[in-house]
Symmetry: C2
């Protein structure tokens, strides 16, 4: 008998750390005391041991296959989350020049905050190429609205904003090196990567446990790294050492590797996209057909496939909604404290069956409480 | 039936990530799919959820109890490992002044390397107060050999050097703020903390999985933080937010918390010290009674309780030793590539029974191969 048989599983709509595939957790559980006959847990393994090197190499190879990353791309597993990258990117690439930031939500704002501090100390300039702040971050700029100067050191975007639930669904017109914080929509669907020079993502939404950050970086951009960086902040050092310059977060990488295997098993990113579109479509349909009981935060064309943000007619009803949802085993539906309302994060690992339960609950709640 | 019954466990002497207590791994395994009835794994839990906050607060409280940390100390769980701290410390505290480094091995050298790069960019000066490099890092300075200027911004030491197996067994005479990289001997025995202003440690030797770094920092030192730091590098930001400024490595913190509970359960650091002294004593006795077959690297008074480093009469015999050891289930005894020879890392979680098996094997091997 497996331990799993004793467990119940909640419908988990957490914005991150978020749900993981049940199959992945079951494998991790089975191997926890003895990884494939080695006699040790992956947690207890030297990062320079043969079994861990295989775990790491397999994870990198599977990710390359899933995303279609050729040898121009370095694949790094680092620490610190996206927040660390907010500072590390300008330290490495601003080089007393100018960088342009496209701000479509709270995380883009944080990226600017750190970059400005770095530019104050090291020189250089951080420009806001576009911001949705005045409109309350409900949309992304249209392709023709956005002018990125092709001579800037880099441009920075946040393709999906977790808090506001706003996502880009078109490519940018950008000839500068484009850097993207994909923490909340990486691996959610096939993407055209030709426009990007660097992609980074904290693992805890679509990949694995918190504590590992995926950094994809093109060799062309690496060559533009500035001088005088401590080794931990120099992406070239991590690339040269294959993420083993210092001890990486080994167990978190191992779980990410299992998630990559799971993604391959279901049919890769094309199938993931189909599932994610069905899930998001189901919830937005409930919102749109609620006669205004539920109001979506994002404009229709900028709606996120990952984070469905909406409000109810009053704060009082919102509280009742969240309490009833919890009683139905529907967890973590409260909106971010900065925005209020509700948010259903429906990352890759949230099953369609959980979304179906939520949708049915929302319909029932609206019918009972609509004035 | 527990999954554990199907597992075999190796004798694991890895220098890090290293062994974890079997009881801890068994608990983690049992809770992996459903943490205490929440219906989710700890890996899938929001870092701002009530169950995770309890995990974090309990870990902090247990650590305070184990180490005797009063309210003058902030307890932070960060990312990046000791290597990140090597750069972050001078960024925060050098403030264009002078810092003195005591270098007793390879990790101290790495700390200096990063600090010098930071001082090149931001101003300030990194002095070597003492180094054992010319003698091959076999010893630590005597109390009277070491002159720390009381007016420097801070002094930095590495109380235990993992690669060379050299450990301090006495306090320093230091009136400057003293910062210690205790990655490899934290929680190994009770220590007088009055001399320290900051202690940091990667978790992967004595505390938990790789990917979380414990930072203990006194409020007095925090006040001396310099300006213009990105928030991720500002210890005050992490202290103010109780390690929740950004998503922390939640699962790694959870496992550390289990290890703290295990330590409390066995009788705390006094009992841990007794066990560690017996383990190290057993191996050093074999070395000392081998009539020169095994030679310890460190001078007797500077021998590490955590990393027992030794050589055999030839490289050829070393290879035979490692191969035979492996066949006996004795893993990861190879010395660091920079030093050669052998190393038995006997961190807190390595059981006395494993050390006994190793000691018996060493005696037998020497008797069979002594010229």
């Amino acid at each position: 008998m497996s331990l799993a048989a004793n467990s119940h599983r909640a419908h988990n709509f957490s914005a991150g750390p978020g749900a993981l595939p049940l199959e992945v957790l079951e494998q991790v559980q089975a191997e926890l005391l003895d990884y494939q006959g080695t006699g040790v847990s992956v947690m207890e393994m030297s990062h320079r041991s043969a079994p861990f090197e295989e775990i790491l190499n397999t994870a990198v190879a599977d990710l390359r296959e899933l995303m279609g990353l050729d040898e121009e791309w370095e694949v790094l597993f680092l620490q610190g989350g996206a927040s660390h990258q907010f500072a590390n990117i300008p330290m490495a690439f601003l080089n007393q020049g100018t960088a342009q930031y496209v701000v479509t939500g709270a995380w883009g704002e944080k990226a600017v905050e750190s970059a400005r501090i770095v530019s104050d100390v090291h020189g250089g300039r951080i420009d806001i190429a576009w911001t949705g702040k005045l409109e309350g971050f409900k949309t992304v700029p249209k392709r023709e609205e956005l002018g990125i100067n092709e001579f800037v050191r880099y441009a920075h975007i946040t393709p999906n904003e977790t808090i506001q639930g706003v996502e880009f669904h078109h490519e940018l017109d950008c000839r500068a090196p484009l850097i993207a914080d994909m923490s909340s929509n990486i691996l959610s669907r096939p993407m055209d990567l030709t426009q990007y020079s660097m992609i980074y993502a904290g693992a805890q939404k679509n990949m694995g446990p918190a504590g590992v950050t995926l950094v994809l970086i093109k060799k062309d951009l690496l060559k533009r790294t500035g001088d005088s960086l401590p080794p931990m902040f120099d992406y070239r050092v991590h690339a040269k050492n294959g993420s083993l310059y210092n001890t990486p977060p080994t167990f978190a990488i191992y779980v990410c590797g299992k998630v990559f295997q799971w993604l391959k098993g279901i049919g890769g990113l094309p199938e993931m996209e189909r599932r994610n579109r069905r899930k998001a479509g189901r919830l937005y349909k409930v919102i749109d057909e609620s006669n205004g009981f539920y109001k979506g935060h994002a404009d229709r064309l900028s709606r996120s496939l990952m984070n469905v943000t909406f409000t109810l007619p009053s704060e009082e009803l919102t509280k009742v909604f969240l309490a009833e949802a919890k009683a139905h085993g529907l967890m973590e539906l409260k909106g971010h404290r900065s925005l209020g309302g509700c948010r259903a994060s429906i990352y890759n690992a949230v099953p369609e069956s959980s979304v179906e339960v939520l949708a049915a609950f929302m319909v029932s709640f609206a019918s009972r409480h609509h004035a």
